[in-house]
């Protein structure tokens, strides 16, 4: 039943932008069916970022909920205590839960399960940078595994900006490194080391979540920090390209699961 897809080096985008960074590509794993007791589940590993998402339902909404003729989506993202280098509390991330909800609700056909709730629970086993895009992509794979009707899979990618927005003068020091201004955390995580550590040096970030079956449809776009218009264009193009590649890999993963279960 298990299907594992290890992303090929072809999936690395715009590697030529990062000539000095062609270290061995970090391990990337996507597979469905990680948790047996859930309706659907998926495991994603991008570099050191490891995430499990379980989907339960559609099941009865909480008693206190009002009648609703469309389905409800309930999302929760939490961290293990050992996910971060310094031992944390393993608390829920309210912010990530709400972003995950917003990223997914546009893709799910909520009319298909009236009066009921679909629960999407994510657990970040290890945080190695770009956790949120990995959670979102993994969640959409888990929803597909659970057989929840969706318009399309959503893939999510983020890039960081390092070097712009520096005090004048310092910019020169970075000129030789201009190609590095986008550390393309490929399918967000880490092309070569945009790890949690590098995330703390960022000057800005851009995250795109999109469906791309026939035309690109963006369900969520988040930009933080100071960006110039051309840089935004450049970053968006990188992200959209990576999204469509990630989307293909996710489809492949589902196909492999389906063909494995037929055998």
């Amino acid at each position: 039943m298990f299907c594992s897809t290890i992303l090929t080096p072809h999936a690395l985008i715009h590697l030529h932008l990062l000539p000095s960074l062609q270290a061995p590509a970090p391990r990337k794993i996507l597979r469905t069916g990680a948790v047996n007791s859930a309706s659907g589940s998926a495991y994603a590993e991008f570099g050191n970022t490891k995430v499990i998402v379980s989907v339960f339902g559609p099941r009865e909404s909480k008693k206190a909920m009002m009648y609703s003729d469309v389905g409800r989506l309930n999302c929760n993202v939490s961290y293990t205590t050992f996910a971060t280098p310094v031992r944390g509390q393993g608390s829920d991330s309210k912010e990530f839960s709400s972003i995950l909800h917003k990223a997914l609700e546009g893709a799910i056909i909520l009319d298909s399960f009236p009066k009921t709730t679909v629960d999407v629970f994510a657990l970040v086993l290890e945080s190695g940078g770009s956790d949120l895009p990995v959670v979102i992509s993994c969640a959409s794979l888990a929803l597909a595994d659970a057989g929840i009707m969706m318009y399309d899979l959503v893939a999510s990618v983020s890039v960081l900006k390092i070097g712009l927005g520096l005090p004048f003068g310092l910019g020169y020091a970075f000129q030789s490194l201009e190609a590095r201004q986008f550390w393309i955390p490929e399918v967000s995580s880490v092309v070569h080391g945009v790890s949690g550590e590098e995330e703390s040096y960022q000057d800005g970030s851009l995250m795109i979540t999109c469906m791309h079956l026939l035309v690109m449809r963006i369900t969520q776009l988040t930009i933080t920090g100071e960006w110039s218009t051309p840089k935004i264009h450049e970053a968006m193009e990188l992200c959209l390209d990576a999204c469509s590649k990630l989307g293909k890999i996710m489809r492949l993963c589902l196909k492999e699961t389906a063909s494995a279960s037929q055998e």
Partner: protein, 302 residues
């Protein structure tokens, strides 16, 4: 008897899945009569078990244990603390068992599972009282500094026999544990030495020799269901929900009894049933020792 007959008549007409859902107890009892279980196991056999060490890079020791579908991830993080005045030569181990909402449809966010604190307490009792770890080994500088080991176990998939899988992952994480190198700085404080700095160290590392924790004995456990005269080893979540009397036996490496836990239930265990459970556990401990040793040697090859 008549009701049994009706149901057996029904069972020949009904789909197997429907019968399983409507009459779960009878479904299982029909299997037990043939000395087999719905997943094709004999009564005394545990599910396939696998173990992977070093699953979490951000922890000092970690292990992923899988018994059938039940999956546990254990990770240990070490921190330096000041020991208490009562026991200046001893470190400390804090054990926590978590059931996040991903592991089972029963657990919802914000409402912790009832089973979690129970397993958590059982685990710390077993690990701390079995004498597996000598807390003096965790001491760095007497009265000044000692290790605090945080062991966190996450249930990733709950399908019965949670304690067995949790204990297996916990002991595996301890055998994978690599204690970080620390040294004393000029102020007499203990600092963790990063791997790059280890070569050009001015002061000698405090614990150069003590990178691995010595485990004097390793405990393993087996949970059995008692139902009528039957004993079912290593139950699944479905079996646990239908037949409610559980008995957990913990034995150490020399097969001495560490703990025996039978939390009530409708079946009263007689002496022979307890002896049978202990005998089954003895077999299981041998299997688990082999699995742990294989996992450790695989790790050393890599």
């Amino acid at each position: 008897m008549s009701s049994t007959n009706t149901s057996s008549d029904l069972s020949s007409e009904m789909e197997v899945d429907a019968f399983r859902r409507l009459f779960p107890l009878r479904f299982h009892e029909r299997h037990l009569l043939e000395s087999i279980r719905p997943d094709a196991r004999p009564l005394g056999k545990a599910r396939d078990t696998s173990l992977a060490l070093g699953a979490v890079a951000s922890a000092h020791g970690s292990a992923l244990a899988k018994i059938g579908c039940t999956t546990m991830l254990a990770a240990i993080k070490m921190e330096v603390m000041t020991p208490t005045t009562e026991s200046p030569d001893e470190g400390c181990i804090v054990i926590d068992f978590h059931m996040p909402p991903i592991c089972s449809p029963i657990v919802r966010p914000g409402r912790p599972a009832e089973a979690a604190p129970v397993v958590s307490k059982q685990l710390s009792d077993t690990i701390l009282s079995s004498g597996m770890i000598d807390l003096k080994e965790l001491s760095l500088v007497s009265g000044k500094a000692a290790w605090m080991a945080y062991l966190d176990i996450y249930c990733l998939d709950a399908d019965g026999a949670l304690f067995d899988a949790a204990l297996l992952s916990a002991v595996a994480a301890f055998s994978h544990l690599e204690i970080p190198v620390v040294s004393l700085n000029d102020d007499g404080r203990v600092v963790v030495v990063s791997e790059e700095d280890a070569g050009k160290l001015e002061k000698e590392a405090v614990n150069k020799e003590k990178r691995k924790l010595k485990l004097s004995t390793i405990s393993f456990s087996l949970t059995c269901i008692l139902h009528k005269n039957y004993i079912l080893a290593d139950p699944t979540a479905e079996e646990e929900s239908i037949m409610e009397t559980l008995m957990t036996v913990v034995l150490d490496s020399s097969f001495q009894l560490v703990s025996l836990y039978k939390p009530g239930g409708p079946v009263l265990a007689c002496t022979s049933a307890i002896q049978d459970c202990v005998a089954l556990t003895r077999q299981r401990v041998k299997e688990l020792q082999k699995i742990l040793n294989e996992a450790i040697s695989d790790m050393e090859v890599d």
